[in-house]
């Protein structure tokens, strides 16, 4: 009987220690995943394009007008419009922890490619 209880003691010890170590391993593997808002940025730009709004403002170079069409709860945002030469028009984002989403367009009516960037940061 004594051997049986000693064995039980070791099995219980194994279970407790293994549970603790596995929990520790999972926690360290998960890390501190921060929410990635770049998908939000893309979805916003895509929805503006689906509504026919994005290209109208982008082709006029009206980044502030385009920015005013965007309303994301909990986030501040600015829009930049970039041409084929890599030059971008628009204000710089006012934060150090920023998500960015890009949307490429080829033009409307005429070929005029540009990249529309939406920068987001938490308020």
């Amino acid at each position: 009987m004594r051997g049986f209880w000693l064995t039980m003691e070791s099995v219980i010890a194994c279970i407790i220690i293994a549970s603790f170590l596995i929990f520790l391993a999972r926690y360290s593997a998960m890390g501190t995943h921060e929410y990635d808002a770049s998908s939000v940025a893309y979805d916003v730009l895509k929805s503006l394009d689906d509504r026919g709004v994005l290209r109208e403002y982008a082709l006029k170079g009206d980044y502030s007008g385009l920015n005013s069409q965007i309303d994301i709860s909990g986030y501040s945002h600015v829009v930049n419009i970039c041409g084929t030469g890599g030059d971008c028009d628009g204000p710089s984002p006012d934060s150090t922890n920023i998500w960015a989403g890009s949307y490429f367009i080829s033009g409307r009516g005429i070929y005029n490619p540009m990249e529309v960037r939406l920068y987001l940061w938490k308020r």
Binding site: C82, Y111, E115
Partner: protein, 195 residues
């Protein structure tokens, strides 16, 4: 009390700690090996897939189909390289030689980063099958070939490497098949568009 007998439980616990520590060390090896491309690459892929046919159509409107597509490809390569994404592509565009004629122009733009062997098969009801072969299409090349005659409605198969896609091509419509890859570190997305 017999000390040797009394110490047995502690040895069991020490043994348990050793066994569990070995499991803990081995645990990461059982982590899943399958991963999905993360971040922005899937969205950029969907964006490009929607935009490439527009590029062709805008180019057709301005009688600059090839120049527009070449320019847009270079634009994407440069813009995406700033995000550490490598963009490579193969674009095939089909168009009437002149509207209403039964002649066909096929333009191939290879920006895959390597030479490729490409075969395009066009078959329609009115005329026989046309096979356009490009045995060693150079990377960075633009190639336009003409074929005559072609039927009103055709089935077109584009094949290169392990890729093959069949699409319907009405003769009086400019059509595109494009294959592209987006790569950043271990993340790779391959996608194509036909229409």
């Amino acid at each position: 009390m017999d000390m040797k007998k009394g110490m047995k439980g502690q040895f069991f616990i020490v043994g348990a700690i050793l066994v569990c520590s070995m499991l803990f060390v081995a645990y990461p090896r059982f982590a899943p090996l399958i991963r999905e491309p993360g971040g922005d690459i899937p969205y950029i892929s969907a964006n490009i897939q929607r935009e490439l046919p527009r590029v062709m159509n805008l180019g057709v409107n301005e009688s600059a189909m090839i120049a527009s597509m070449s320019n847009f490809t270079a634009f994407l390569e440069r813009s995406l390289s700033e995000k550490r994404i490598n963009y490579t592509s193969l674009v095939v565009m089909f168009r009437n030689v002149t509207t209403g004629s039964d002649g066909l122009n096929i333009t191939v733009i290879n920006e895959l980063g390597s030479n490729v062997t490409l075969t395009i098969t066009i078959s329609g009801e009115d005329y026989g099958t046309i096979v356009a072969s490009y045995p060693d299409l150079e990377d960075g090349s633009v190639n336009t070939s003409s074929y005559i005659p072609v039927s009103n409605i055709n089935n077109v198969t584009v094949a290169f490497g392990s890729q093959e896609r069949t699409m319907e091509w009405p003769r009086d419509k400019a059509s595109i098949y494009a294959f592209f890859r987006l790569t950043r570190d271990e993340d790779i997305i391959k996608n194509d568009v036909a229409g």
